[in-house]
């Protein structure tokens, strides 16, 4: 690595973390607010522009899963400019307002959904010192803001004056509200282990990544965040084959684009949140604290790269799931949440809290992780065993019924009826 390149990286890091501007401007009273404004602009711009990359990535990866090439004309061999072309096309489309729409609700929804997603990025630590603002209630803030998106979807569905949109909004609200419960409960466990709600503190507490310490909690969070985002297999809220497109059916042009944008941005945010809470965020085998001999914290840059790689890997997993799994039925989805995930996460909280208190003070991080891991696996095994027992009972009941039918010779008639 040549010296000038290192210098360039240094100035980049200093600019983004505000150190450089603080040196230039000194400590006048207006400096901090100005830095906040710049930071807010940077965070929001990032949240918006990264979506162009995401759309390209998702289309390309999905195409590969379906044995196609994907976008390959606009912007060179790899179709890199496809999202830009799409955005330009949408910019010149007519915005149609349906007759009889509730104008306030209808027009407010696309604004609010983007605002909520961009607001969430404020507490995402990209690298050491590179964060919008380190709120002491970071995760609580994220959950609070993400609840607003439920209201937004209801506004869109209700305001459109369309039956499909309203049905989609009902489904969306029922689903997001339900899956918020296991999501909140599974987020409690990392908070309990880190003893803090701040996103930075949670990252710093992960000498052992929490996915090793509490894998069950990570799994519950992952599943329920899939449902929160409304992605496959939980994409009932925009099932094309059932309710056309769900809550955004009556939107066109850029207003429609805002919903797509918010969907992708929140998918990336949830991947990022998973990385922060369970995969150690910007931590990378201790390299993130590395400082060069010149006093330049190269570790910050390594942390940034590590965080982005982890986040995009998680996003690719989301795309992978979309390319693999079919959609749930609504009753299956609700049952899975209320009869499996919620009781399981309640039991898990109880177990983790008790195990954590039972451990003597001052044991090493790895011992602690091991004990938690074992208790987690045990809880998961018990849950699966209960499921198996229930399934067996149901199957036996069904087989018993069938035998009863056979004895009176009804089965042949039933089979004949089915065949017709």
């Amino acid at each position: 690595m040549s010296f000038s390149f290192l210098e360039f990286l240094k100035s980049l890091v200093e600019l983004t973390t505000g150190t450089y501007l603080r040196q230039v401007w000194g400590d006048a009273p207006w400096v901090d607010p100005t830095l906040d404004v710049i930071g807010a602009l940077l965070v929001a711009t990032f949240g918006l522009l990264i979506v162009l990359v995401l759309i390209w990535l998702e289309r390309k990866v999905i195409a590969r899963f379906q044995d196609r090439i994907g976008p390959n004309r606009v912007g060179g061999k790899y179709g890199l400019l496809q999202p830009v072309a799409d955005a330009l096309k949408l910019l010149t489309k007519e915005i149609i307002t349906p007759a009889g729409a509730d104008l306030w609700a209808y027009n407010l929804a696309p604004f609010l959904i983007v605002v909520t997603v961009l607001m969430m990025w404020a507490v995402m630590p990209f690298a050491p010192g590179m964060i919008g603002v380190d709120l002491n209630i970071g995760l609580f803030y994220v959950l609070a803001i993400s609840s607003v998106s439920v209201v937004t979807i209801l506004l869109a569905g209700w305001g459109s004056n369309n039956k499909y949109a309203l049905l989609g909004a009902f489904r969306a609200v029922a689903q997001m509200v339900s899956y918020e419960v296991p999501m909140i409960l599974s987020l409690l466990i990392p908070i309990l282990l880190a003893r803090s709600m701040s996103t930075v503190d949670i990252v710093e507490a992960q000498a052992v990544p929490f996915i090793i310490v509490v894998p069950l909690s990570a799994l519950i969070f992952f599943i329920s965040s899939l449902a929160e985002m409304g992605r496959t297999p939980f994409d009932l809220l925009e099932a094309e084959s059932e309710i056309v497109a769900g809550f955004h059916i009556e939107y066109s042009g850029m207003k429609f684009a805002m919903f797509m944008l918010a969907e992708y941005a929140s998918a990336l945010f949830m991947s990022g949140l998973f990385v922060i809470v369970f995969l150690g965020g910007y931590r990378f085998f201790g390299l993130e604290t590395y400082v060069t001999s010149g006093g330049f914290a190269l570790g910050n840059l390594i942390g940034l790269v590590a965080f982005f790689i982890k986040m995009f890997v998680m996003f690719s997993v989301l795309v992978w799931i979309r390319g693999t799994l079919p959609r749930f039925r609504i009753d299956q989805m609700m049952d899975f949440n209320w009869k499996f995930l919620v009781p399981l996460s309640l039991a898990l909280i109880l177990v983790v809290a008790l195990v954590d208190k039972a451990l003597p003070v001052g044991v090493s991080a790895w011992t602690q992780a091991g004990v938690h891991l074992v208790s987690n696996v045990l809880v998961g095994a018990v849950a699966l065993e209960i499921l198996r027992w229930r399934g067996r009972k149901q199957r036996e009941a069904q087989e018993g019924r069938q035998e009863g039918l056979e004895s009176v010779g009804v089965e042949a008639t039933v089979a004949e009826a089915v065949a017709h």
Binding site: D36, L91, I95, I96, W158, I184, M254, K255, P343
Partner: protein
């Protein structure tokens, strides 16, 4: 601490500009020729019958009620989780009781058939 929220306040002011800009450009660039047919509500090619804003399935309402219980529970559990290092054994038992009572509420709702999607 309170100065942390200044950043959030700026975010609240700045973020609405980001959707406003593309929608504004769209309003300028895009054509605007509304007519009766175009503005009709989409319903697979037929004209929509009756009012859209009808009564909805009561099931949604029940799920929302159960959700409120658990959401309030979260409000209580978050501070406890954050301060878990300082709480004593008595508090731990209390938390356990709290969670058990909530689980009992869920089991009650389950037993009464509330969670059955009809």
């Amino acid at each position: 601490m309170i100065s942390d929220w200044r950043f959030i306040a700026f975010m609240v002011v700045i973020t609405p500009l980001f959707p406003a800009l593309p929608i504004g450009i769209n309003l300028l660039l895009g054509p605007r020729k509304p007519n009766y047919i175009k503005q009709q509500i989409y319903e697979c090619g037929v004209e929509t019958v009756g009012d859209t804003w009808v009564q909805f399935k009561v099931q949604y309402y029940i799920y929302a009620l159960i959700f409120v219980i658990f959401d309030i529970e979260a409000v209580f559990l978050f501070p406890i989780a954050a301060a878990y290092g300082q709480v004593g054994l008595f508090a731990v038992v209390e938390i356990a009781l709290f969670i058990v009572i909530l689980t009992a509420a869920l089991a009650y709702a389950w037993g009464r058939g509330v969670l059955k999607w009809v």
